[in-house]
Amino acid sequence: MQLSDPELIGHLRNEKTRNLAFSQLVTKYQERLYWHIRKIVLNHDDTDDVLQNTFMKVWKNLENFREESTLYTWLYRIATNESLTFISSRAKRQSVPLQDVGDYLKNRLEADDYYEGTEIQKKLQEAILTLPEKQRLVFNMRYFEEMPYQEMSDILDTSVGALKASFHHAVKKVEDFITGIE
């Protein structure tokens, strides 16, 4: 039986039940967080690394979790930060300039054995990679996950208004990109 988030939190705070509760937390959230991370880092192997990093960070910081945010929001925030940190450290290691991170991610996507997009899907991914980091995040969360703006606001620590504006700009740029290459 799957525990609710408040129940999970209660068990995570108890030293005797912590291990089992963490195992249940991983089972409950692994798939959702995987797809959230995959949309950011694109490559499966990289996603696997980041997902593991995310859960390890969660485990190490259980004591620091305050119930000001929901467990779900907290997990998504860690996963997002871990994804961005991963990309930036990998790009830095390969001496990729900040403005070329999109190209770096495109290469990682093309090198992925678990990518199987159609031509139009490939175009969409290329268009998304032309967006600035924040717009890319917002576009992915809104377009693919249909995440409510309020949840996005909690995860990204950005106002709902700013997120709406970001999404609007992102959509326009994606449309322009696809129109331009047709």
């Binding site: 991983v26 593991q52 859960f55 678990y114 199987e116 997009g117 969409l124 693919f144």
Partner: protein
């Protein structure tokens, strides 16, 4: 391939573009994930103490080599140097003593030499059997006889 529920197009232009991610995962990926995560967490936890040892492991060959050099120097180089040094010193001393005697005897005539031998406070060191051997090898019987008749 991950299918996103309730697909809805962004705009008319993108009609036909499904909200579907063009990604897939390896078979049984999510079933195996928990086990791989646990293994990594255990490895990292045990690796924390292992990291302290790891520097020693990296330095071990270098330290071993340094210790071997030190052993060679202590056990071979110094003793050999010490021994050869002493021998050189000893041979130098021996040569010095012999040279001194030869130089001394060369410039002394026979008469003076025997006078020196006869002096009571003579402490040249030539006495007894050594003296007999020196006289026997350097003087004929006749020379000795003549000296004793003086």
């Amino acid at each position: 391939m991950k299918k996103i529920v309730n697909p809805e197009e962004i705009s008319g232009h993108q009609k036909g573009m499904e909200r579907e991610l063009p990604f897939r995962v390896p078979d049984h990926y999510f079933e195996d994930f928990q086990a791989r995560l646990s293994a990594r967490m255990e490895a990292e936890e045990s690796g924390l103490s292992g990291k302290k040892v790891s520097l020693f492991i990296y330095m071990k060959p270098v330290l071993g080599l340094a210790a071997a050099f030190a052993a060679v120097i202590l056990l071979v180089y110094f003793p050999v140097r010490l021994m050869t040094g002493e021998k050189e010193l000893a041979s130098n001393n021996t040569v010095g003593e012999e040279e001194k005697i030869i130089n001394l005897v060369e410039y002394v005539d026979d008469h003076t030499f025997f006078n020196l031998l006869n002096e009571e406070d003579n402490d040249s060191g030539l006495e007894g059997r050594d003296l007999e051997m020196y006289i026997a090898s350097n003087y004929s019987d006749y020379d000795i006889f003549l000296e004793t008749q003086k």
